[in-house]
């Protein structure tokens, strides 16, 4: 609408110039009018035409991301590519009488690359590609959301027709905003928006241009059943946290073009980063590069990755000063964790650190050997003992406890609950909702008490070991896994 006005204005300007009319005052007036119009925002009336820019064919605007650029997620990528192949090879699909897929729901924890996959889909399928975010449909005015859904689908069809394409892809990010379960009469507006989306995806009205909807959410549990049924979102693709190989692939992608030292073993870094999402890994590489820059090092070295892992896991190193007494207590506490971890799971300690980072005053970093998804009772008990080891060490050395173990207890209790829920406690296989909280509490206390006694015995047995390590840790503020193990080997030998 604004473009023809620009042309007409220019024409008028040239005409007045020809007539010899003074144009400068006119230009000033026009400038003032344009400025007032622009800043008053009068061009954005509620419920009016949705801003065109927000959902234009955005294939060209999207960075050039391909499926090969996405690390890990092999299964999710394969499924998504297959669904898109249906769009591309429609003739073949017709031969088999396959009904075209209506939509794909990408679910998974934040930062796992759902949006990235949608971007890659845009390149992969040579279709009209529109994107919208769930929150774009929400406005304080009733009916606007539904109208916007209509407009989005209408625009997809029109653009496809205009570009002479027989398919269109719409990507809706964070669909849980509009696709939440319809319950009660609280959110009529959200219901209308959702109803419109349902109708557009699979309603009575049929269109000659099939529209394929890709939606992403990290709250699949919130979505309305009508939205997740086959015929709407036919396939639900879980984009989970990457496994070790996935992490290694992601790291290799993010380290491309960065001066990585040849000694850096990305597989080892991948091994140490269990539970990291794609976004965390990207952040990790970035942080490592920042550390290398701070050190004015030519290459990003292993130590920078190690610092970056700590940074991403625990937060930035703080310059909080502590008294020697507190520092000693923290050192003993962390040595306790490390001692028990090493005794129960040899070669698991990567580092014992005494520098405050994030909320922690010190910490022990373990390296998981393999990605573990299942745990035995013994493994869980070992984990609980490692959690309780800090307190046990404090009690061994100082004959008292401190408040520093709050997080350890929370973690231990969580593990106890897992044991009870999975039938690994003395209660047997039970439905936790039917058990009296008191009984649960007693069982947790029982497990914790028994394991604490075991832990305390171990720390007491190795009392002298604390004396050996404490001075080194207090001075150096850091004990490497190998260093720690050699000290422990001496202790065990004696």
């Amino acid at each position: 609408m604004i473009l023809p006005i620009v042309g007409v204005g220019l024409g008028l300007f040239l005409f007045f110039l020809y007539l010899g009319v003074p144009v400068l005052p006119m230009l000033v007036i026009v400038g003032i009018v344009v400025a007032v119009w622009y800043f008053s925002g009068s061009n954005l009336k509620a419920g009016s035409q949705w801003k065109n820019g927000s959902s234009h064919d955005q294939r060209n605007a999207i960075p050039n991301i391909r499926f090969t650029d996405i690390g890990g997620q092999t299964r999710a990528k394969k499924e998504l590519m297959e669904a898109l192949d249906f769009l591309i090879e429609q003739e073949k699909m017709n031969e088999y009488g396959i009904r075209p897929l209506k939509g794909i729901l990408l679910t998974g924890p934040p930062g796992t690359g759902k949006t990235l996959m949608a971007k890659a889909s845009a390149h992969y399928s040579n279709a009209v590609f529109l994107t919208a975010s769930g929150s774009e449909f929400v406005e304080m005015y009733v009916g606007v959301g539904a109208n916007r859904v209509r407009q989005l689908f209408e625009r997809a069809r029109k653009t496809a027709k205009k570009q002479k394409k027989n398919r269109a892809v719409i990507f809706i990010d964070e669909i849980d905003v509009i696709g939440a379960k319809r319950e009660g009469s609280q959110h009529k507006e959200y219901d209308q928006t959702l109803n419109q989306l349902l109708t557009e995806m699979d309603g009575i009205k049929k269109s000659e241009i099939p529209i394929f909807v890709i939606a992403a959410t990290n709250r699949k549990d919130l979505l309305d059943a009508a939205l997740t049924r086959p015929g709407r979102f036919d396939r639900h693709i879980a984009v989970d946290l990457p496994d070790k190989n996935g992490r290694a692939h992601i790291l290799s992608l993010h380290t491309k073009g960065k001066p990585i030292h040849e000694e850096v073993d990305l597989d080892k870094v991948a091994n140490e980063t269990f539970g990291f999402s794609g976004a965390s890994l990207e952040s990790l590489v970035n942080e490592a590069a920042i550390y290398a820059m701070r050190d004015e090092s030519v290459y990003i070295e292993s130590k920078h990755f190690s610092q970056a892992v700590d940074k991403v896991l625990m937060g930035e190193q703080t310059d909080r000063t502590t008294t020697l007494e507190d520092k000693t207590r923290v050192a003993v506490h962390e040595l306790g964790h490390a001692l028990i971890a090493e005794l129960l799971e040899p070669n698991s300690v990567a580092q014992v650190v005494l520098t405050p980072r994030g909320q922690a005053l010190g910490y022990v970093r373990h390296h998981p050997k393999n990605d573990r998804y299942l745990h035995t009772k013994e493994q869980l008990e070992n984990q609980i003992m490692i959690c309780l080891a800090g307190t046990a060490a404090e009690e061994t050395w100082f004959q008292n406890r401190s408040t520093g173990a709050k997080n350890d207890y929370e973690q231990a209790i969580r593990l106890c609950k897992t044991m009870i829920e999975t039938g690994l406690s003395s209660l047997g296989i039970i439905d936790t909702t039917l058990v009296v909280p008191d009984e649960l509490s007693k069982e947790i206390a029982h497990i914790l008490d028994a394991l604490y006694q075991q832990t305390f015995c171990l720390t007491k047995k190795h009392h002298s070991f604390f004396a050996d390590c404490l001075n080194i840790l207090l001075i150096e503020e850091r004990l490497d896994g190998d260093q720690f193990r050699s000290l422990l080997a001496q202790e065990l030998a004696s």
Partner: protein
């Protein structure tokens, strides 16, 4: 070329066609043609050299043959021009060449003539013209109506014409 640039160019071209088309059309139908129609009756003696138009006034350049009885016939044409273009909205200049004598004579006449118009002493116009014309042995003719003073100076077979508005001087 992007769609946006195309839209701007098309709207610019359409605007220019409409504006300049309208302007030239108005000039032709409302200015040029009526003026030519006025002088059509006198086309044997008067030819239009140029018509210059701008939104506030029209300037007409004429070439008049020596045989034309300027004083008798021209006042009726100015009345017609007033009706078409409006009073004071037009001016006429003559492209007839001045001989050196006429040029010198006009330099002297112009003082008395303008003084006569300005002060309302219209007999001064007549007396000054007569005096200077006789001084340079020129034949002359002078006439005034309620709006203009018409002057003709003749040196041999060359004539020179002048028309001066009374209101403009005042």
């Amino acid at each position: 070329m992007t769609k946006q640039v195309k839209t701007i160019i098309v709207s610019l071209v359409v605007t220019l066609i409409v504006l300049f088309g309208g302007y030239k059309g108005y000039q032709y139908f409302k200015i040029d043609k009526p003026i030519k129609d006025v002088f059509l009756t006198q086309q044997k003696n008067i030819s239009i050299s140029k018509i210059k138009f701008n939104p506030s006034s029209v300037q007409i350049q004429l070439n008049v043959k020596p045989t034309y009885s300027y004083i008798d016939e021209f006042p009726s044409l100015t009345k017609q021009l007033n009706e078409i273009l409006g009073e004071g909205k037009w001016s006429i200049t003559f492209t007839n060449t001045q001989t050196p004598t006429i040029k010198q004579a006009w330099k002297e006449i112009v003082f008395g003539l303008k003084e006569g118009i300005y002060t309302g002493r219209y007999t001064l116009i007549q007396s000054v013209t007569k005096h200077i014309a006789n001084k340079y042995h020129l034949s002359y003719d002078v006439y005034m109506d309620d709006q203009y003073v018409y002057l003709m100076l003749r040196d041999g077979n060359k004539s020179w014409y002048q028309i001066l508005p009374m209101k403009e001087v005042k």
